[in-house]
């Protein structure tokens, strides 16, 4: 058997996860292979040398955990958590309304266009009249249409 395979079986033997068939195979291997026995000794030695960890957590750990859990359950937080979907829905509605309004303005109706044009005409007509009056005045003064171009 390959050393890697033997090592895997030895590791599984330590945890009691070997099948009966694998156990028989490993027993045979250990009986004939010095390398397999050396590997098993090595693993056992490492296991035995592991120091029991005496370090304990903060003695107030349970209190701190409890405080954290209670703090997270306070009514204010609970209300905020319950209202979260409401806020999300309101935000969605606001966004949808905004988008709808924006698109509505992007595609104005015929009546909107007519009213805007009429409004412009109200401003443009007196201006044009004033301009032509000014033109006539200049013509009357100079008597030569070319002078207007120069002016």
């Amino acid at each position: 058997m390959k050393p890697g395979k033997i090592e895997k079986m030895l590791l599984l033997e330590q945890t009691g996860e070997l099948t009966a068939k694998q156990r028989r195979r490993l027993t045979r291997e250990l009986a004939v292979s010095g390398n397999a026995r050396r590997m098993r000794d090595e693993l056992n030695t490492i296991s035995k040398a592991i120091v029991e960890n005496d370090t304990a957590p903060d003695p107030w750990a349970a209190r701190r955990i409890d405080s954290r859990l209670r703090a997270e359950k306070t009514p204010a937080r609970t209300v905020v958590r319950l209202l979260k979907p409401v806020f999300a829905l309101a935000a969605c509605l606001l966004l949808a309304t905004g988008l709808w309004t924006f698109h509505g303005k992007q595609n104005p109706s015929v009546s909107d266009v007519v009213s805007v044009t009429a409004e412009l005409n109200v401003w443009n007509d007196p201006l044009e009249e004033d301009m032509s009056e000014l033109e006539n005045l200049i013509l009357a003064i100079s008597g030569d249409p070319l002078d207007i171009m120069e002016i």
Partner: protein, 204 residues
């Protein structure tokens, strides 16, 4: 080595009762639970975290997460589940950190690997006589292993979990968990080559 090959599929009745009592407002019940699992859990966390303070923080966070999500995991073994939460927390923390150090990672510009530095900083065999010192030597050497291998090593050696349980915690196959353990043992074997005789003597 402790508890080998434990069958852990359902939450202990006592744990379930303590949790129910805590939910009803009995803070002492939580204290009893924390006390019950503090050694294996804190020992594991301490060995894969960045020191005592970090370990305390992770330990508390594990319990907070466990209790907050208890409804989802009613049918599982509590300790395995605590280990799983600890594993997820540590993986997140490692990912948030920049480089991951391993034995192969050059630690200096000269390209000296972490393992070499670690070996050089350790006292020689002549200064170590008892099994406890050798255990500490193993602990120092294991600290340089990549997180997945270190986790498997300590879950197996210290917490006494089976490979099936370790595979569940790490969300991998049993073969992967076994392979990680083999890598860990192989690297420790190289690291501790000089002390191996001492190890055997201490172990026998």
């Amino acid at each position: 080595m402790k508890t080998v090959g434990r069958k852990t599929t359902r939450m202990d009745d006592e744990d379930a009762k303590l949790l129910a009592a805590y939910r009803k407002g009995d803070a002492e019940a939580l204290g009893t639970l924390v006390e019950k699992y503090k050694r294996p859990l804190f020992g594991f966390i301490l060995r894969i975290s960045e020191g005592r303070e970090d370990a305390d923080e992770v330990f508390q966070e594990v319990w907070v997460r466990a209790i907050k999500n208890m409804n989802r995991y009613r049918q599982k073994n509590l300790l395995s589940w605590l280990f799983r939460i600890a594993h997820n927390l540590m993986i997140d923390r490692v990912r948030r950190r920049k480089p991951v150090l391993s034995f192969e990672t050059p630690a200096t510009e000269g390209g000296i690997a972490v393992g070499e530095l670690l070996a050089a900083s350790q006292p020689g065999p002549d200064r170590e006589t008892g099994g406890r010192d050798l255990g500490a030597r193993i602990e120092s050497a294991a600290a340089g292993l990549p997180i997945e291998q270190r986790e498997v090593f300590w879950l197996r050696m210290q917490a006494g979990l089976s490979f099936r349980e370790i595979a569940k915690i790490q969300k991998c196959s049993i073969n992967t968990a076994l392979a990680r353990m083999q890598y860990a043992v192989s690297k420790l074997r190289k690291e501790l080559a000089g002390d191996y005789r001492d190890l055997q003597e201490a172990g026998s």
